[in-house]
């Protein structure tokens, strides 16, 4: 039943598929982030307590939730790469890691910039902030491990094990604000109950979250294609591609 999926483990086919998907992801990302950010920054009402400062939520929350989603994506790819030894999955994991690291940094930075005027401090060592910082270090660890081996099969195995072990941090980040007392407030967007935010503030936020997801997808596809080429430089199809590119 999974036979059809196996054919995409072939580098050339996955390279071409990624190329076909890229414009869709890129266009959706630009459209959604454009609409969500403009709506959130200019037209959404201001908050009753925080005034206009709350608008940083339209960057902070999408970045934070996507930093966790990207990690799950990376860990899943590593798991597939490790168990089924599909190289394309290893390359996918390696291409998500730096994007995840940057998006985590954005979440931490916008959080600090929001914390200073609202809470009165840039940083506090509460469970949510600390576990999100650990997520950044996990990403950096995966990047470093993948980069430090000459043999990329070995490198992907080492980085993959770290990525899989690090999955334990994701539920800790998610539930840190419920399990322990923290300065960070609990979740606003709830899946099972009504969100504690009015619709005209919530919709641009949801659009931006989705847009950030598409953006990470698009960036991953770009990096994945580059990674496939870098790992298959000696293959005839890559040489053909390079020749065709040079002839243009």
């Amino acid at each position: 039943m999974w036979k059809w999926l196996n054919s995409y483990a072939d580098p050339e086919r996955s390279y071409n598929l990624a190329g076909k998907m890229l414009p869709w992801f890129a266009c959706l990302a630009i459209a959604l982030i454009g609409v969500g950010t403009t709506w959130g920054m200019l037209y959404a009402p201001m908050d009753y307590q925080q005034g206009d400062s709350f608008r940083i939520i339209y960057i902070h929350v999408p970045a934070a939730s996507m930093s966790m989603a990207a990690y799950m994506g990376m860990a899943t790819a590593s798991f597939i790469g490790l168990v089924w030894q599909i190289k394309a999955a290893d390359w996918a994991a390696a291409s998500i890691a730096p994007i995840g690291a940057v998006i985590t940094f954005i979440a931490l930075f916008t959080g600090a910039a929001w914390g200073k005027p609202m809470w009165g401090t840039w940083w506090v060592w509460d469970a949510r902030l600390t576990s999100e910082l650990v997520l950044l270090f996990l990403y950096l660890g995966v990047i470093a491990l993948y980069a430090s081996f000459e043999d990329k099969v070995l490198a992907a195995r080492a980085a993959g094990i770290l990525a899989i072990v690090g999955v334990i941090n994701i539920p800790i980040i998610k539930y840190s604000v419920e399990w322990w007392s923290s300065l960070h407030q609990p979740a606003t967007i709830k899946i099972t109950e009504k969100s504690t935010m009015t619709g005209d503030m919530l919709y641009p936020l949801l659009i931006n979250i989705f847009g950030f997801g598409m953006m990470i997808g698009a960036l991953t596809l770009v990096r994945f294609r580059a990674e496939v080429l870098a790992r298959n430089g000696m293959r005839p199809w890559v040489r053909e591609l390079a020749k065709a590119e040079a002839a243009k």
Partner: protein, 165 residues
């Protein structure tokens, strides 16, 4: 599934389960230490599970709601004194000598860090405002009767303050 894949799958799952087990035991053991702050109830009556009370002179963080109407402001300095409480019914007094954050209001959640100078009184060196997960436009908040008034300074206090400058 061929036996080699099966072996790797078992190993990978064992790894995840093992790490999850270690992490949950670790977090369970550290549980109370991972809390950012004591609640006022815990300072008065001790922690629920261990009964440990913070000692006088200990440096701690306390989190709770500022009791409405408890705010006393010294007209000649930045010194303020207010009570914070929690839903369990504990209440302690906090004194502070510096600028309060913008979001500080009576009825607002705060986290204060400082030294417990006597049981039930905290001399804070840092007061942070904690905001909740509710976001709404001002009109909606008004309709729901949720507006926390911003701190109002009576006219005489203001002019008194200027005299001493």
């Amino acid at each position: 599934m061929n036996p080699r894949r099966k072996k790797r799958l078992t190993l990978a799952i064992a790894l995840i389960v093992g790490v999850a087990g270690v992490a949950s035991l670790l977090l369970y053991a550290l549980n109370t230490n991972l809390n950012l702050f004591y609640t006022p109830y815990e300072i008065v009556h001790g922690k629920k599970d261990t009964g440990v009370k913070p000692d006088v002179g200990q440096r701690i963080r306390v989190g709770g709601m500022v009791t409405v109407g408890s705010m006393i402001r010294d007209p000649n300095s930045l010194h303020v004194e207010f009570a914070i409480h929690d839903s369990a019914g504990g209440e302690i007094i906090v004194t502070f000598d510096d600028l309060l954050p913008d979001l500080f209001r009576e009825g607002q959640g705060i986290v204060a860090q400082g030294v417990l100078i006597e049981s039930g009184k905290l001399e804070a060196t840092e007061v942070l405002a904690k905001h909740d997960e509710n976001y709404m436009p001002p009109e909606v908040a008004e309709a729901m009767g949720q507006t926390h008034q911003k701190l109002e300074y009576p006219e005489e206090t203001k002019s008194e303050g200027y005299k001493y400058q």
